[in-house]
Structures are given as structure tokens and as C-alpha cells.
């Protein structure tokens, strides 16, 4: 078997860089630890460049495949990591111990996700998912002295381990049915089978359940608000985007590649999950007072929208999901950046505390509005084009009622997102002191704003860049 290690170069490079960060951490004085963040960002940017320039192909007998699909998701993971690290510098300095490990763990988690999006068989997929998630368990509990953070870490660990076990069980059943772990071969095997048995249904249900946990889709979302609230905010930002994107990459790899021929069996299930996620996420978010919990429920709803595109199982579905996740990345991490910047000054995540922010920092307030409008899907923000694509994909295949549900729940989401704008613009707070934004954070915010607005207005370059992604499946 010919093994071409050069295909793995982005993943290996980032792995080495993560180790480099751990090593440099030993030799860095406590007051200089912030430099490790910049070191991490350099590594991530270099990895992105290597990813784009390295060639495509498959190796390890199809277990590892570097294609446009994987590349698109790699860019999303790396982008999330860059934005997260950039926004975390001040927060980590002020609130966390062991700063070096914090950045190193984020890099390691990103490595796991990058392997995941490139995996061509179920075992690689499972192992890289674990690599990505175990780093996140640690990160969620990073504030050791904080009760909520430790609770978040523990919850995430126990439920995450349980869901991984379920996923693994599903994978082993699928292996038992098809006799292979390679995704292509499973597809071939299944197409030769005249009918699917109950065992197959069971395995699909278990795989969906296991991955839905990573996506925080209803009814596997229970951990999400608590973990999002308790975890350090930069970790929440990373969890809400990169971890979900990883789950989606796995879902698409398995279902569009191996199980596409049996889509009749699982589309209704995912449709139900999507509907529940949109309804529950949006309705419960209305009542939240803590902004991290609000964004947690909104992220549950966002997964619902993405699954609307997913059930189309078409070329457009792949394109639309990548486009939407990209838009979601800028908008959601952007929103969390504002939360972090505000927390750094005020020490509060209470939505009421945002009263009068438009006076205290016009820049933060207007950025927040842009990000939230993008999450609702209001043009000309990127979220609109993304949602437009997702809904188009579903309408193309004739799934109307779920799209109607999607747009109606979007209107609900407008209400609670606007309640934040309401605090910032229509209310006046007790505190009038200006909110200072550090230069690193400001740069990161401008990047997120630029991404949100540019993708919305000038979508064509992004679309042509990801146009090859669906060729891995259809």
C-alpha cells in the first residue's frame, strides 16, 4: 500500500506546532504568556496556507482523503481557532491559569477536527472525533476554582463519553452489516443489499444520536446551555462553532457518502430533529437572561436550520451547509467576542448589564447588531445568503413545511436577538464609563465584521472556492 504522508502535511504541521507551543510555554515567563497566543495564531495561519496549497488525494487505503470538502471544513476549523485565540488573549490573561496549555489544547482540538474532516473510514472518523472532543473536555473545565466551570466540564465529559459510546456502538453495528469500515465500501455494500433490516435502522439511529450530541441538536442538547454558560467564554465560542462544524463534517461524510442510497430511512428522522431544534432552541432562548445561555439556545436553533439544508442530500446541500457554517462562524464567534470584550470590563454576562452599551462603546454595540442580524438571516449580512441557500436546497427537493417552520422560527429568533439590541440601544445603564476594547480584540472583531458583510455582499468567490466540495459525494 502506497502511503503518501505529504497529504497529511497540514494536520502534521499543526500537531507539531501544538507541541511547539507546549514546549515554548515552559520557557516563557508568566507575564509574557500572551505571546503564546500570537505564536498559536501564526501556526494556525501557516496551517491554513499549507492546507490550501497542499495537493489533494487519498492515502492509507482510502482512510484519509484530502479533498475540497475537507479543505473547506479545515478552513472553518482554523478560522474558528484563529478568531477564538485572538479574542481570548485578555480573557485568558485575566481569568485563567496555565495559559500556554490553553492555547495548545485549542490547537490539538483543531488537529483532531482536521483529521475528522479528512477521514475516509469510520474508525479514523471516530478516533479523530475523540481527539477533538477530549481537548474540549479539559478546556470546558479550565477554571478549576469556578464551580460552574467544573460542573460544565464534568457534564460535558460524562455525557460526551456516553454519546461517544453510542456512536461507537452504531459504527460497530454498521461494520457488522457491511463488513467494512471504509465509507466508499459501505456505500457499495449497501447498494447491493436488497432490503435493509432492523439492525441497520438501529445502527443509523445510534450514529445520529451520537453525532447529534456533538451538534447539540434536540433532544441531545441538554448539556449545551449548562456547558456553554459554565465554560470560559472563548471556549464556548469555539465549542459553538468548531465543534458543531466537526459534527456536521462527520455527519456529511457518513450520510452523504455511505448511506446516501438509504436516505429514505433517515431523512425523516433528521427532519424531526431539525424541526425540534428550531422550535425548542428559538422558543426557549426568548426567556434567557444570561447572554451565554441565550447564545447556547440560539446555537441549538442554528443547527436546526443547517439540518434543513442537510435533509436535501444534494450538491446544493453540501454547498449550502459549508456556506452557512462559514457565515455562522463569523457571526457567532463575533457575537461571543463582544461578550468576551464586555465581560473583560464589566465582569457580567447578564443581558440587563448590556443596557446603554451603545453609549459606552458604539463599536461593540454596532458589531453585536451586525452579528445578531446575520444570525437571524437579514440581508445584506452573510447569514442571509447562507440561509437562502439552505432553504433553497430543501425547497428544491420539495420539503416545504420544514422551510416554513424555519422562516417562522427565524422571526422568533429576531425577537430575542433584538432584545439584546434593545438593551444596548434603547436602555440606559447605571454605568456610563466607556468600555475599552484591546487592539487584538478590535482587529479580531473587524475581521469577523468584514467576513460577515463581505460574504453577504460578494458571495461569488466563496461559492467558487467551495464549488468542488460536493464532488466528493455526488
Amino acid at each position: 500500500m502506497q502511503i503518501e504522508l505529504s497529504l497529511l502535511s497540514p494536520q502534521l504541521f499543526l500537531l507539531l506546532w501544538a507541541i511547539l507551543v507546549f514546549v515554548v510555554d515552559f520557557f516563557t515567563a508568566e507575564r509574557n504568556k500572551a505571546s503564546l497566543a500570537y505564536l498559536s495564531i501564526i501556526g494556525l495561519v501557516l496551517t491554513a496556507i499549507i492546507s490550501i496549497s497542499s495537493k489533494q488525494g487519498e492515502t492509507f487505503g482510502g482512510s484519509f482523503r484530502a479533498d475540497t470538502f475537507g479543505l473547506s471544513f479545515n478552513i472553518i476549523f482554523l478560522g474558528s481557532a484563529i478568531l477564538t485565540v485572538a479574542s481570548a488573549v485578555d480573557y485568558v490573561k485575566a481569568h485563567l491559569k496555565h495559559q500556554g496549555e490553553f492555547y495548545g489544547l485549542i490547537l490539538l482540538s483543531t488537529v483532531g477536527m482536521m483529521f475528522l474532516s479528512a477521514s475516509g473510514d469510520l474508525l479514523t472518523l471516530y478516533v479523530s472525533l475523540e481527539l477533538a472532543t477530549i481537548s474540549l473536555f479539559v478546556l470546558a473545565a479550565y477554571m478549576k476554582s469556578d464551580l460552574k466551570s467544573t460542573e460544565a466540564g464534568l457534564k460535558y465529559l460524562i455525557l460526551g463519553a456516553a454519546s461517544s459510546a453510542i456512536l461507537l456502538y452504531g459504527i460497530s453495528l454498521l461494520y457488522g452489516i457491511s463488513g467494512t469500515l471504509v465509507l466508499d465500501a459501505i456505500a457499495l455494500k449497501l447498494s447491493q443489499m436488497p432490503t435493509v433490516g432492523p439492525l441497520f435502522i438501529l445502527s443509523i439511529v445510534m450514529i445520529i444520536a451520537g453525532l447529534s450530541f456533538k451538534l447539540a441538536a434536540v433532544p441531545f442538547h441538554m448539556w449545551c446551555p449548562d456547558v456553554y454558560e459554565g465554560a470560559p467564554t472563548p471556549v464556548t465560542a469555539y465549542l459553538s462553532v468548531a465543534s458543531k462544524a466537526a459534527g456536521l463534517a462527520a455527519l456529511i461524510r457518513i450520510f452523504f457518502k455511505s448511506l446516501a442510497s438509504t436516505s429514505m430511512q433517515w431523512v425523516p428522522l433528521l427532519m424531526a430533529i431539525s424541526a425540534m431544534a428550531m422550535i425548542l432552541g428559538n422558543v426557549v432562548a426568548v426567556r434567557q437572561h444570561n447572554i451565554k445561555r441565550l447564545l447556547a439556545y440560539s446555537s441549538i436553533a442554528q443547527i436546526g436550520y443547517i439540518l434543513v439544508g442537510f435533509i436535501a442530500v444534494s450538491e446544493l446541500a453540501v454547498t449550502s451547509i459549508i456556506l452557512y457554517v462559514l457565515a455562522y462562524m463569523f457571526a457567532n464567534i463575533g457575537a461571543f467576542m463582544v461578550v468576551i470584550a464586555f465581560y473583560n470590563v464589566s465582569g457580567s454576562d447578564d443581558i440587563m448589564a448590556y443596557a446603554g452599551l451603545s453609549k459606552r462603546s458604539p463599536f461593540l454595540a454596532i458589531s453585536m447588531v451586525v452579528f445578531l442580524l446575520s444570525l437571524v438571516g437579514i440581508p445584506p449580512m452573510a447569514g442571509f445568503i447562507g440561509k437562502f441557500y439552505l432553504f433553497s436546497a430543501a425547497i428544491e427537493k420539495g420539503y416545504y413545511w420544514i422551510v416554513v417552520l424555519g422562516v417562522l422560527t427565524s422571526v422568533i429568533s429576531l425577537y430575542y436577538y433584538m432584545s439584546i439590541a434593545y438593551q444596548m440601544y434603547f436602555k440606559t445603564g447605571d454605568d456610563d464609563s466607556p468600555v475599552r476594547v484591546s487592539p487584538t480584540m478590535a482587529v479580531a472583531l473587524v475581521v469577523a465584521l468584514a467576513g460577515t458583510l463581505l460574504i453577504g455582499v460578494y458571495t461569488q468567490p466563496v461559492l467558487s472556492a467551495i464549488s468542488g466540495a460536493s464532488s466528493a459525494f455526488f
Binding site: 451603545s358 447588531v369 442580524l373 437579514i378 440581508p379 445584506p380 442571509f384 445568503i385 437562502f388 432553504f391 433553497s392 425547497i395 428544491e396 416545504y400 422551510v403 416554513v404 422562516v407 417562522l408 427565524s410 422571526v411 429576531l414 425577537y415 433584538m418 434593545y422 440601544y425 434603547f426 458571495t459 461569488q460 461559492l463 464549488s467
Partner: protein
């Protein structure tokens, strides 16, 4: 007048954004400079748009000054601007009223002026974009984008119940437009799968070789119509309007009444009728009846209002009922009257809101009972108030008369009962407007606070004079405006009726082949063909 490749419509649409950039560079303490830049931007934009009135060729119904650039070619989304006789008038109405509204806010908006002016100019870009877009997605982008400047204008600078009003306004509008988006995407796929042409281009969809089956047309029409009916607003979707109008700052009310409501009616004209003509005729009885209910209900509600501003707000519901009735007569008189009434309502109701705003700035109350005998104290104000009131009632010689007359004429031709019922609205309008006017302006000055009121200053006079000039101009000589929309209107009626014919033929064929369809009520539209 313009060289053919000069993108005049883009210039007009985005010029306000240049003003926004300039304002962003000004320190927020320099209120005077911010105001001047905003006003100048809007005024220059008006000057840029004015030549369109003369350059727009009235002999053709085709879209003019078009700009066509692919935006997302895979899905056939393009950046497609263009105007015809109808949208040209809407563009000029917008650019005409925006500077006046901005100027009127010089006195009333004293806090957060920078944010206010920025919101207002972004709003202008959004409104103009709606009127010039000929691609469904592009249209939708502007349609949604202009919502949020308005959200902030009402929510930050509005009255005591502004939060409730603005949230209601946004949620109502969003629900309507959300379903419209689905209808747009559905229409796209329907057309794509049957003709193999991926496009959101209105012209191409309109001339598509694929006739949409009537049952699907009904659904699509309903989805579009809901979005537009909420915006118009038609009874029973009007409940956001009195709240939004009353709570918005003066300039916000002016723009809301004069331009934003017109977008709903414009949407019917531009999208609903040409794309779904058959469904439009099926829906005609429903929409006409709702329009008449709106006319009478709005008038009766206006009758009992104690607050002048909410009286004007309810009168809007009534007036827009006329507009909708006129549009859904499908004959030339009715349509022309409807479109003219859109402009008239912009001028006269916009003027009334300005008047009410000026009154409020002086007395900080809008209650009718707090006034009385103002004619003696503020004569110039009273005269201007009277002219605008009479225009709103539709006195012959003012613009309102021409519009209402044409609408009633059109309605009479299509359905006499509608015309008779709608005509009661004219009478009611005279009652509630004149009664209000009498209580505010005439009688004795019995409140001490009213004795010392100042008459209009130069700025206020200069704001109202252009409106009054237009009131008389259109009232006496409406031909320039009517002639410019005539070809477009004729074309619209032709499209509606031509598609009728096709559908009628299909209908016969289907009946012959044994698949009965719902009976198509042709109304009287077919008879208007030869006019």
C-alpha cells in the same frame, strides 16, 4: 440626458451611503455639521433623481436606465436595476420627501443626532433600492435591509411607547417577508424545472414560457400578498400602523406614511399582478372587500381619536384602502388613480405629520382637546394646515381629488357596489378631518398656553411650501404625472389580461380533456381590454 452606460440608479441609491461615511467622520458633538451634511446629501440626491422625471421615456413600458450585472450566476441572481413610469415616480417621491423629513428633524431631534442621521440615510438607500430592484432576491435584500434603520428610528427617537411599537412593526413585517422569501425560492424552482432557465430576474420570470398552474399561483400570490398587505397595511393587518405612526418621531412618521407604506402597494403592482395575474383576479373580491372595510373602518377609527397624530394614522389606513381598491380594478383609470393616490398620500399625509410635529414641538401635546382657536394665534400655520387638510380630504383643485376621482371611476366600471361603498369613505374623510380641524384651529382661544404660540419660522415654511405647491400643481394639472405612468399602466393591464386569455384557453382545453378546474371569475377585466 444621461449617457446610456452611466449607472444613474446606482448613484441615486448609494449616494446616501456616501453621506453616511462623511457623517461617520464628523465628531458627534458637532451637531450642526452633521445635520448640514445629511440634509445636503439628501438634497443633492433629489437633484440627481429629478432629471429622471424628464428623461424617463413615457412612450415605452420597458424598463429604462437598466443596470445588469451577474451577482450569484449559479442561481441566476443578478444585480438588476431599472425603472419604468411607475417606479420612477416612487423614486422621486422618496428623494423629494427625504430631505424635507431630515430638515424637519432639525428642531425635534436634539439627542444622538449622529446616529439618527446615519439611520435616516441608510433608510433612504434601502427604500430607493426597493423601488429600482428588478431581481427578486435583490429586491428582497433591500426590502429587509430598510427595516432596521426604521427599527432604530422609532425605538430610539420615538415616543413613550416606542419599544412596543417598533418591535411590533419589525415582527409584523418580518413574518410577511419570511413567507415571501419561500415563495420567491419556490417560484424560482418552479420556473427552473420547467423552462431550465435559472433566474430571479423579474422580466424573465414575467415573460416565462411556463404558465404557473392556478392552484400554485394562488399560494404564491397569497405569500407575496401577505408581505405586501402587512406593509400597505390592509385591514386586518393594520394594527402595527397606528402604534408605529404615533410613537415614531415626526420625520419617521413622514417617511413611514409617505414611502414605506407605498412599498406594499408597489409590491402588488410590480410583483403580484404581473407574476400571478390569474390568482390576482381570483383574489380581487377578497382584496377589494378588505380594502373597502379598511376605508370605512379607518375613517371611523379616525373619527374617534383624541390625538391628532393617531387620527392621521388611521386616515392612512383609509387612504391606502383607496389605493388598493384602485389597483385591483385592473382598469387604467383605477390603476392610474391608485398610483397617483400613492403619491398624493405621500404628500398630504406626509404634510399632515409635519404639521402635527410642528404643533407638538410648540405645545408638547397632540391632544385635540388641548387646542382651539389657533387661527388667531398662528395664522400662517393655520392656512397651511388647512390646505393640507383639504388635500387629504380630496377637495377639487387639490391633488387628493384627482386620485380619488380616478379610483372611484375605475371602481365604478369594475363593480358599482364597491364604488358606492368606497365613496362613503370620501364623505367620512371630510367629516373627521374637518371636525378635527375645526376643534384645533377655530373657536375661541380658551387655553392660556395657546395664546403665546409662535407662528412658523422660515425653515418650517420652506419645508411646507414645496408640498403645498405640489398639492395644487397635481390638483390642477395632473397630466405630466399621469402621462408618465400611462404606458406602464397600460402595459400592466395588458399583461394581466393577456395572461388571462392564455389561462382561459387552457381552461377550456382542460375542461374538454376532462380535468375540470375551478371556475375562473373574469370579473369585468376582460371588457377593459379595448380601452
Amino acid at each position: 440626458m444621461f449617457s446610456s452606460d452611466f449607472p444613474i440608479l446606482s448613484v441615486i441609491t448609494y449616494l446616501p451611503l456616501i453621506g453616511v461615511l462623511l457623517i461617520l467622520m464628523i465628531d458627534k458633538e458637532k451637531v450642526g455639521a452633521i445635520r448640514i451634511v445629511a440634509l445636503l446629501t439628501a438634497a443633492i440626491n433629489f437633484l440627481f433623481s429629478l432629471p429622471l422625471f424628464f428623461a424617463c421615456d413615457p412612450s415605452t413600458a420597458a424598463f429604462q436606465f437598466t443596470e445588469h450585472v451577474p451577482w450569484i450566476p449559479e442561481l441566476g441572481i443578478s444585480y438588476f436595476f431599472g425603472i419604468d413610469g411607475i417606479s420612477m415616480l416612487m423614486v422621486i417621491l422618496t428623494t423629494f420627501l427625504t430631505p424635507l423629513a431630515i430638515w424637519a428633524s432639525f428642531g425635534s431631534i436634539t439627542e444622538k443626532v449622529k446616529g439618527y442621521m446615519i439611520s435616516f440615510l441608510i433608510l433612504e438607500t434601502g427604500m430607493l433600492g426597493v423601488f429600482v430592484s428588478l431581481d427578486l432576491i435583490l429586491f428582497f435584500v433591500f426590502w429587509e435591509a430598510m427595516l432596521f434603520p426604521m427599527y432604530f428610528i422609532i425605538g430610539i427617537w420615538g415616543g413613550p411607547r416606542r419599544i412596543y411599537a417598533t418591535v411590533k412593526f419589525v415582527l409584523f413585517t418580518m413574518i410577511g417577508s419570511a413567507l415571501m422569501l419561500i415563495a420567491i425560492i419556490y417560484l424560482y424552482y418552479l420556473n427552473y424545472q420547467n423552462t431550465n432557465i435559472p433566474t430571479f430576474n423579474l422580466e424573465l420570470l414575467q415573460s416565462s414560457q411556463f404558465p404557473i398552474p392556478i392552484n400554485i399561483q394562488m399560494w404564491l400570490f397569497a405569500a407575496f400578498a401577505l408581505a405586501f398587505a402587512i406593509k400597505v397595511p390592509m385591514f386586518p393587518f393594520h394594527t402595527w400602523l397606528p402604534d408605529a405612526h404615533v410613537e415614531a418621531p415626526t420625520a419617521g412618521s413622514v417617511i413611514l406614511a409617505a414611502v414605506l407604506l407605498k412599498m406594499g402597494a408597489y409590491g402588488f403592482l410590480r410583483f403580484c399582478l404581473p407574476l400571478f395575474p390569474q390568482a390576482a383576479s381570483e383574489f380581487t373580491p377578497l382584496i377589494s372587500i378588505l380594502a373597502i372595510v379598511g376605508i370605512i373602518y379607518g375613517a371611523m377609527m379616525a373619527f374617534v381619536q383624541k390625538d391628532v397624530k393617531s387620527l392621521v394614522a388611521y386616515s392612512s389606513v383609509s387612504h391606502l384602502g383607496f389605493v388598493m381598491l384602485g389597483i385591483f380594478t385592473f382598469n387604467i383609470q383605477g390603476l392610474q388613480g391608485g398610483i397617483l393616490q400613492m403619491i398624493n398620500h405621500g404628500i398630504s399625509t406626509g404634510g399632515l405629520f409635519l404639521i402635527v410635529g410642528m404643533l407638538y414641538e410648540r405645545r408638547h401635546t397632540r391632544m385635540i382637546g388641548d387646542f382651539g382657536g389657533l387661527a388667531k394665534v398662528v395664522p400662517v400655520f393655520s392656512v397651511m394646515f388647512m390646505i393640507i387638510t383639504l388635500s387629504s380630504i380630496g377637495l377639487p383643485g387639490t391633488n387628493g381629488f384627482v386620485g380619488e376621482f380616478l379610483i372611484l371611476l375605475g371602481a365604478f366600471k369594475s363593480n358599482m357596489v364597491y364604488a358606492v361603498l368606497a365613496a362613503t369613505g370620501v364623505v367620512l374623510a371630510a367629516v373627521y378631518m374637518l371636525w378635527m380641524f375645526q376643534r384645533v384651529i377655530f373657536g375661541q382661544v380658551d387655553k392660556k398656553e395657546n395664546e403665546t404660540l409662535l407662528d412658523l419660522n422660515l425653515r418650517e415654511k420652506l419645508i411646507l411650501i414645496p408640498l403645498i405647491a405640489l398639492i395644487f400643481f397635481i390638483g390642477i394639472y395632473p397630466k405630466p404625472i399621469l402621462s408618465r405612468m400611462e404606458t406602464s399602466v397600460k402595459n400592466l393591464t395588458a399583461i394581466v389580461q393577456q395572461k388571462f386569455r392564455v389561462e382561459e384557453d387552457n381552461h377550456k382545453i382542460r375542461i374538454i380533456s376532462g380535468t375540470p378546474m375551478d371556475k375562473i371569475s373574469l370579473n369585468e377585466v376582460g371588457e377593459q381590454k379595448n380601452e
